[in-house]
Amino acid sequence: MDKILSLENIHFRYYPDDPNVLSNLSLEIPAGKVTAILGPNGTGKTTLLHILLGLLKPLEGVVKVSGKSHKGYSRRELSQMIGLVPQFESIPFNFSVFEYVLLGRSPYLKPLQLPGSEDVRITEEALLAAGIDHLRNKPVNEISGGERQLVHISRVLTQQTQILLLDEPTAHLDLENQNRILSLLKQMSSLGNTAVLTTHDPNAAIFAADYFVLMNRGKIAAQGNLDTVITAENLSMIYRTPIRVEHTNGYTMVVMDKH
């Protein structure tokens, strides 16, 4: 299994006298697959994504991309390799969908360079790939939550990065939109992209992911494939509530256990 991203013995806290948010965390993300980082709210999933992105620097430990430390890459090189869809993206100015998605091209432009016809073409392709071409002239703040998540993903598509980090991409979405987003991710990984998504919903993870990482209180509780990680015992422990794992017609489902 090829490892495209790896974390080695990461320690992190936000302020010097705060307790650690992440402690001695080691993790390997397989290339060309969808990896789900699963865990309860407030367990450090977003912090972990920000460390993978390079936005936060770990107190100790090494982050490697394709076997080379983050520090060996320039900001520009990293932004051409790793894209992010954050959990909350407030856009205070009402860009059109097209203008917003076009911003994904900035890693390829020099500081004073304007986007050219090639950038416009790539942006149009990304809108088509996400199925939101018809929204191109709509203001980003006047579309539905599901459409907006597709807009964010289109922006990452124009960034043409090998690695996509998605922070709770399906939170607040209805089932139809969850299906659209997760299917799009699966389709992208079948084209060779690596996707890392965080979620607190085990069923969304099972639907989309090939590789699973369970996080609990800033540590990795388990990592591996579906059968080894998604067990009633593991989930009941990290969510601190009785949970059952059902297997029906070859499909795995996680349900809360009624007493």
Binding site: Y15, H50, L53, G54, L55, R75, R76, L78, S79, Q80, I82, G83, L84, P86, F88, E89, S90, I91, P92, F93, N94, F95, S96, E99, L103, G104, S106, P107, L109, P111, L112, L114, P115, V120, P139, N141, Q159, L165
Partner: protein, 333 residues
């Protein structure tokens, strides 16, 4: 197609600004109110003097002032992700006002002294706001700077209050008050040449970075993931726009509302993307300020302080926009 569209709009706007500039040369109260017939320039020595030495430098300074206030307003609104921010923010205007007051009271009211002291204190206001914000331990970058900017502005404005209180009511106070109300009544070619380098640096930097500025209005994590060097780009843009604002404030006094209202109107007309809305805002702001200054020197036999006019027109436009179109403020993240 996208680019042609943008350049055509800007070209038309630029022509509009030129028309306002040329028209304004002939608007005034000489030889009689409101209009100076162009043919008089060939006949009347005084008219020629008036146009060349008083109106032209004043109009060009009004143009730069409007362009810079609008550019600074747009940039601050983008960087602070808040459509209700203007250059008065961050202690700059109040700092410059304090500097001017110090100069009028103690260093003499030579224009160059006022300009240098005002610029110095304007930048000091920015520096203090920034330093204090780095010491605050809670809140995001924007909230911390807003809080320290408010506090620093209040300190400087208290300082201005004290200086007004101790100023000599017969000699110093009138000059100080008129300066604080804002106006371009005494602008000369020398003043214009003093602000020109600051203004050009601001205008060119903002114009050159007009597409990139969009990135800075996104969330920090998104902007970072797109390769923006947040701290460096913010510092470059803040430094050029704020120092230009401070330099112009030094000769114009405090001119409010242009930096708030013009970027709004520009986004309404030309869309949110800074690639088009910022250059357009600079041109609109230049025209707006020249027209306001035409009114300031023409409406009444005596000069109306420009700051009063821009505030009045700006506030009325703002109320109109809020009621009729709705200014959307999103604070959901």
């Amino acid at each position: 197609m996208r680019k042609e569209n943008i350049s055509r709009t800007l070209l038309l706007l630029g022509l509009g600004v030129l028309v306002v500039l040329l028209g304004s040369v002939f608007i005034g109260r000489y030889p009689e109110p409101y209009w100076l017939p162009p043919k008089l320039l060939g006949e009347d020595q005084l008219a020629r003097q008036l146009v060349l030495n008083l109106r032209l430098p004043r109009l060009l300074t009004a143009l730069l002032l409007g362009m810079i206030l609008s550019a600074a307003g747009s940039i601050l609104q983008m960087i602070f992700r808040n459509p209700l921010v203007e250059p008065g923010f961050l202690g700059v205007s109040q700092g410059a006002a304090f500097g001017a007051a110090v100069s009028i009271l103690w260093l003499g009211s030579h224009p160059l002294t006022i300009e240098l002291t005002a610029t110095f204190f304007g930048l000091l206001g920015l520096g203090l706001s920034y330093l204090i914000s780095t010491r605050i331990r809670y809140g995001g970058w924007v909230l911390r700077l807003v809080l320290s900017g408010v506090a620093v502005s209040a300190l400087f404005s208290a300082g201005v209050g004290i200086l007004k209180y101790i100023a000599d009511p017969l000699t110093e106070l009138p000059e100080l008050t008129f300066w604080l109300l804002g106006g371009l009544y005494s602008v000369t070619w020398r003043d214009f040449l003093y602000v020109l380098p600051f203004a050009l640096a601001g205008i060119f930097t903002v114009y050159a970075m007009r597409w990139r500025v969009n990135l800075l209005s996104l969330n920090d994590d998104t902007a970072f993931s797109l390769g923006a060097s947040l701290t460096r780009e913010r510092i470059i843009l803040l430094t050029v726009t704020i120092s230009a604002t401070a330099a112009l404030t030094a000769i114009s006094g405090v001119i409010g509302w242009v930096g708030l209202i013009v970027p709004h109107i520009s986004r309404r007309l030309f869309g949110a993307s800074a690639e088009k809305s910022i250059p357009a805002a600079m041109l609109l702001g230049g025209a707006f300020t020249m027209i306001a200054d035409d009114l300031a020197r023409t409406l009444l036999p005596g000069e109306i302080p420009l700051g009063i006019l821009t505030s009045a027109i700006g506030a009325i436009l703002f109320i109109y926009l809020m009621i009729n179109i709705g200014i959307k403020v999103r604070r959901d993240g």
